[in-house]
């Protein structure tokens, strides 16, 4: 038995739960495969028959529009059949346990579960429950990980910056509550980015970040100075209600990215954001809609990256069968 549930005996990706511990070659494989899938979106028929006859269940225990939609579109462009289940509003409310819900869905011969859950570790729990020929993809769990978001960000960075070897990347905002930031840090380090900075107020940065090989900054101007890539994180409204922060207005004053502040970054720096953006809270509209923003390209890339991950995990079962 392999100790990493994500990989099979041949080192192929079986489940995609976290970036942690995955080898660099595998991340590069995902990016290269995604590159091949981007052309599909430009064609008259935006579909390839790779996963024809496979059944994908989007299991969302937490609401999401963009992630669920891009996963759904990715599966459909691979010709899989997709079901969207908003569990929050159905079975668990009727008292059915997670294990029972899974058994029911497996009985429908599901090949893949795409799971979003408010609890960290839920997708891994599900991956350990399902039968061996079923794959699980983490679409965001608690504060833990959001690996496909991190990979689409890596894809976007590679597209605009060609390589990772000499980059400086700044991640700005609520790192403490961000599964995106955590997965991004692991991906950036694994892919060999020499300088990763995290920038934010003390209340929103977890302790011990330095052990991940990043530098910590509390001043935005200092944190983004000379950066090639600036990743802004979404500030959750509830953080302000819970007294971790004074107000949205004040946050914008200290940590909001404005055109003037962006000038401190490298001249050709790109600005990314996982969305949905809070205009006037973490980012100025002039930056979000400006020429350095690649926020909408991130969304397009997300489809290709999810197509790549889906076909890789389902492809891993091939020889095993």
């Amino acid at each position: 038995m392999h100790d990493d549930i994500q990989l099979d005996e041949r080192g192929q990706l079986r489940h995609f739960l976290t970036i942690e511990r995955l080898p660099r070659e595998l991340l590069v494989d995902i990016l290269d495969n995604a590159e091949r899938f981007t052309v599909v979106g430009d064609r008259a028929v935006k579909k390839v028959p790779l996963l024809r006859g496979k059944t994908v269940v989007n299991l969302f225990f937490e609401p999401s529009t963009r992630t669920r939609t891009t996963f759904e579109l990715a599966a459909k462009r691979l010709s899989a059949d997709v079901m969207n289940l908003n569990i929050e509003a159905s079975a668990t409310r009727k008292g059915e346990s997670l294990a029972d819900t899974l058994r029911t869905l497996e009985a429908m011969n599901t090949d893949m579960f795409v799971v979003r859950h408010q609890d960290s570790g839920a997708p891994e729990f599900i991956a350990r429950q399902v039968s061996p020929e079923v794959s699980v993809i983490n679409a965001g769990d608690g504060r833990h990980a959001h690996p496909t978001q991190a990979m689409l960000d890596m894809f976007t960075i590679r597209r605009f910056k060609q390589s990772f070897e000499s980059l400086c990347v700044a991640i700005v905002g609520d790192v403490a509550h961000s599964r995106v930031a955590r997965s991004e840090i692991h991906a950036l380090k694994t892919l060999g980015v020499p300088e990763v900075r995290v920038v934010g107020p003390k209340t929103l940065l977890p302790v011990g970040l330095e052990t991940l090989g990043v530098s910590v900054h509390h001043d935005l101007d200092e944190g983004i100075a000379g950066a090639d890539v600036v990743i802004m994180l979404r500030l959750q409204q509830e953080r302000m209600q819970s007294a971790l922060l004074p107000s949205g207005h004040e946050y914008f004053h200290t940590y909001g990215l404005t055109p003037k502040r962006l000038k401190r970054a490298a001249r050709d720096a790109i600005v990314m954001h996982p969305g949905p953006i809070n205009r006037g809270v973490e980012i100025d509209s002039a930056v979000a809609d400006g020429s350095q923003s690649v926020i909408l390209q991130q969304v397009t890339h997300g489809i290709a990256v999810r197509m790549a991950v889906m076909s890789m995990v389902l492809g891993s079962h091939a020889q095993a069968a």
Binding site: D29, N33, R36, A44, L51, H317, A318, A321
Partner: protein, 171 residues
């Protein structure tokens, strides 16, 4: 495996150039566009395009997403994606591959082409038409025909120079 005659690729290319050029005239193909199947087919299509003086850029097809063996083999190693830099609709297409064997590659290639649009015609050109067809697919133009046993294979190596090699395993 030395029982096979040495095949002169350049002479075979001369052969298919002549036959294709005659066919274009006979069938009144209008401004045909060439599409090569990666990788050997692309090498050949590039040569044909040059010799026939075709101006339309070369189309390149990577049929990995259309193969019928995904559930047996999984994802194929990364190769360059397909590129069809011209409008397919109503077009006379010439599909080029190095070896025609089971016919499954051609089936996959035609499926992919139709996801780009609806061509008027497709003409199939291959360098070597070998025995072992599993699907009702035939070449319109071929360089040579070979009868080979199931454990005998021929492949095109290249791009410079192009040469045909006989081997015992299919790669």
């Amino acid at each position: 495996m030395n029982k096979h005659p040495e095949l002169d690729v350049e002479a075979l290319i001369d052969e298919i150039t002549d036959r294709l050029s005659r066919r274009i005239a006979e069938q009144k193909l209008d401004d045909p566009a060439l599409i090569g199947i990666r990788t050997g087919g692309v090498w050949l299509a590039a040569r044909l395009r040059e010799r026939l003086g075709i101006e339309t850029p070369l189309g390149e097809l990577n049929i990995a997403f259309y193969r019928d063996d995904f559930s047996r083999i999984g994802m194929h190693p990364t190769v360059e994606p397909s590129q069809l830099p011209f409008d397919i609709d109503g077009r006379d297409l010439v599909l080029v591959d190095d070896i025609l064997y089971t016919g499954r590659t051609i089936r996959a290639a035609m499926n992919e082409i139709f996801d780009y649009g609806r061509p008027r015609t497709i003409t199939l050109v291959v360098l070597v038409d070998r025995s072992g067809r599993e699907l009702p697919i035939d070449a319109n133009v071929y360089g040579t025909r070979l009868t080979l046993a199931a454990d005998e294979h021929v492949k095109l190596l290249g791009p410079d120079p192009l040469r045909l090699e006989f081997c015992a395993t299919r790669t």
